[in-house]
């Protein structure tokens, strides 16, 4: 089966890869580009562990074909921290113990970042519904919601 | 002698008794004493049991001490999730 050549941008860097037309963006990120931050929890868009942004829009990378990345801009968890310091969301997740096992954390951080870029002052209900597609089995979400709200408050103060 | 309380489901393997007296100073000797008294108990002990000594549940340690006045209960093997 012949492969497709794709040129794309990932976390601001130009990237190229060859992929089978059946491979998803998640497969490509993990298996061809070595970006294993996005996780496959379900492969069917139900868990959100593979969340990335595609031209700034939050998506499940398991529901995007690798071939569709051509000419697009992709952002993953690996690109959230600006240099040496952590993004406020990342810091607050550690501070609040908003992760136990940590497998859902990359997807939740990508999703929460997308939320705060769109809505810097979300209510608890808005955070809960925005993140409804990001399953966490460890925490009961309590500390995750608190971490997102706290990060939002801090980011509003700085802004 | 140490009195060992069995769970009642074991009566069939212990000649109808729920309390068996064995000569023992350790948990391991409790178990070997039980088998010596009632060979039918071998299978269940091999499959795994725990022993409560004065309320402390010994999951597997055979060297744990037991004295004559200890309250000893045989329990099914503990595990967790």
């Amino acid at each position: 089966m012949s492969k497709i050549h794709v040129s794309t941008t990932i976390n601001g860097d130009a990237a190229e890869f060859l992929c089978d037309p059946r491979e998803t963006l998640l497969d490509v990120l993990r298996d061809r580009l070595g970006l294993t931050g996005a996780k496959e929890g379900c492969g069917t868009g139900d868990c959100g562990a593979c969340s990335v942004t595609l031209d700034g829009r939050l998506v499940c990378s398991c529901l995007v074909l690798g071939a569709e990345a051509e000419g697009r801009e992709i952002a993953t968890v690996e690109g959230i921290a600006p240099g040496e310091t952590l993004h406020p969301l990342q810091r607050k997740f550690i501070e609040h113990a908003a992760l136990q096992c940590g497998i859902c954390t990359p997807g939740i951080l990508v999703a929460a970042k997308a939320l705060l870029e769109k809505n810097p002052d979300p209510t608890e209900t808005e955070v809960r519904y925005w993140l409804a597609g990001n399953l966490c089995r460890c925490t009961g979400y309590d500390k995750i919601i608190r971490a997102v709200m706290d990060a939002a408050a801090e980011m509003r103060e700085v802004a | 002698m140490v009195e060992v309380h069995l769970w009642s489901g074991l009566r069939a393997q212990a000649g109808g008794r729920e309390v068996v007296e064995v000569e023992a100073s350790t948990v391991g000797e409790v178990l070997s004493g039980l088998v010596a008294a009632h060979p039918e108990l071998q299978e269940v002990i091999d499959a795994g049991v725990s022993v409560a000594v004065d309320g402390r549940i010994i999951a597997s340690g055979l060297t744990e001490p037991v004295s004559e006045d200890s309250e000893v209960y045989l329990m099914q093997r503990l595990k967790g999730g």
């Binding site: 069917t44 940590g102 | 393997q13 999730g81």
Partner: protein, 764 residues
Amino acid sequence: MALDEYKPQKGGDQLEQGHAFKYVGTRPDRPDGTDKVTGRARFGADITAPGMLHGAILRSPHAHARIVNIDTSKAEALDGVKAVVTRADFSAAIQPAPGMAGEMWNVLENVMAGDTALYDGHAIAAVAATSALTARDALKLIKVTYEVLPHVTDVDAAMAADAPVIRDGTADKSVPPGLHPNVVRYHQSGHGDVEAGFAEADLVIEDSFTTEATHQGYIEPHACLGTLGGDGKGELWCCTQGHWNVQKICAALLDMETSQLRVTASEIGGGFGGKTTVFIEPVALALSRKANRPVKLVMSRSEVFRATGPTASTSMDIKIGMRKDGTITAAQGVFRAQGGAFPGAPMEFTAMCAFAPYNLANVHQVGYDVMTNRPKQAAYRAPGSPMAAFAVESVIDELCNQLGLDPLEVRLKNASREGTRASYGPKFQRIGLVETIEAAMAHPHYSAPLAPGQGRGISCGFWFNHGGETSVTLALSEDGSAQIMVGTPDIGGSRASMALMAAEVLGIPYENIRVTVADTASLGYNEVSHGSRVTYASGLATIKAAEAAVRELCKRAAAKWGIEEEAVYWEDGYAKPSGPNAGDFEPLHISKITRSMGATGGPINGHFEATPEGAGVSFATHIVDAEVDPETGSTKVVRYTVVQDAGKAIHPTYVEGQFQGGAAQGIGWALNEEYIYGTDGRLQNAGFLDYRIPVASDLPMIDTVIVEVPNPGHPYGVRGVGETSICPPLAAIANAVSAAAGVRMRNLPMSPPRIFEALEAKNG
């Protein structure tokens, strides 16, 4: 080290005498936090090896079928396919035996079917190929001829006389004569005279309950990378709760020497008991041996649901007698649990935990372990206990309703205390049930007004906790910092707890300690991270290892000062002379000692290995408010409070996290999660779409109250906290929903159609 160093007389007592902690009980950032928020942490599926192949497993579409023939020739001929394995590629030496005595054979049979497919999803064959897509394509080319057999998936149906026999001869000697061959183990225990007790009661309620199988629902599917050469030496990387156990089982299933297989535990994306055994790991190794290349195997979500280890489903009959003043006079329970096509449903824990919270003169419990055509159950957070609490606490709730009694006062009146004879036999040591009930009574939640349509439920819950084989090594560096090797995978922040306990002993900053989960070749045996044992047992071992290092540090200081070892004590990171008689020496900081350790006797390490047997049992009391929409049967949990005895909270934030996580999983189990089998015996909802675990918008914030009644079996009083938190929720929510809906809910999950049907039946 002498065993008596962690016996009851230590620890807890010391704590109650007002021992002040400097690090324990604080809430620092977890050491692996940055790795886990940046995507750097490597989980099961995140590793690769040069020349790696990808594996895939062919699974039975039938609930029960004889495997007549497997033709792998077309798959083998496909370009890129490097190996195909079937049961013939695993050990022939392991033989079946009745009950749990045959467990190694049971595991093998579950990993790869022998002559019969026993459930929908049972592994039949596996392929390794140059890409994951090729491996999946190859599976479609394997031709299996099945002879479909009659199947049964329901626990009560499997005990009926006409049920198909799943495997005759599996029952062990515990099973009384006359039962169906699918009943493979039996438990009976209790004390007193229940009939006499019921006769003393003013009200006796007898009722029946069922719970469906649920899945641990960890977000990370099982994944591993195995390599095994013709020289019999292998390496395995996998996500597991216990890599020594994986090592032991894989070696047996592949006829290897255990020491020749080195297993490394990756970061683990949740387990909750479901990753305490093996499923794909031996298959990856068998494929690797055949292909002579590393093989990576990653389960799909559908495979996780169909072919890993969900919990047991149960059918239970409860009878409890109570006097008008709330005294329970007698209690009995019959607990039937199916755990799939193998022995092992945790019915003995269901039976033993059922009445443990109560001081009962007369109590009797019976358990049946029943086989069905479902996947082999695995442990799930306090295996067996949540179902028991659901049934028992529902009946107690109903007794309280009918006698007009306050449900928490009734629990308090009957509560087990130190010295109470437990329903499962021995007398309790120091326990904290009363303290949790009192804290629940005092909590504002319990007296808060309810809105119309809402109901409040409460429940107590119990779990044993566990110790288990444990090895820990602590090594000091030249600069006085410390590294700790533990063997229990860090599922929820245990590196932080270990570092806190070591910091407490060594008197050095938490940040100066690095905790590593060692591989099987780098540390002695460690039992699986299960039974809420990690903070208890690895924690105890870490304290003891650190104390061993401190003794050596004191020895070096004594040598430097030329005084007796006994005249030196350790405080806040310094060796100090123990008094004026010892001599007048400037306290010696740890870094001063370690800097010259090579020249003063060699490296300073502490280590500890033992099977600590002082895991204290633990209790919790939960309060929940639920709102039911009477038109749709839909339930919303509006408020939730967890009160639990942690013994001593080492890192309170992560203790709260365990409480909250247990409650959330319990909410899912109570309301919506269930394995749904069709009449064809196939699993209907093998995905997160229709296996409905709670999402963020389903839940309220979950309040927590940490009660600390020290465990006498741990130096700092720690009790495991991971499992007890899932024991009360099913019952607490059922009681809340029953109150809100005005109708007793006896079957879980209380999904909207079930509540609607109950309301319809009530309203006529």
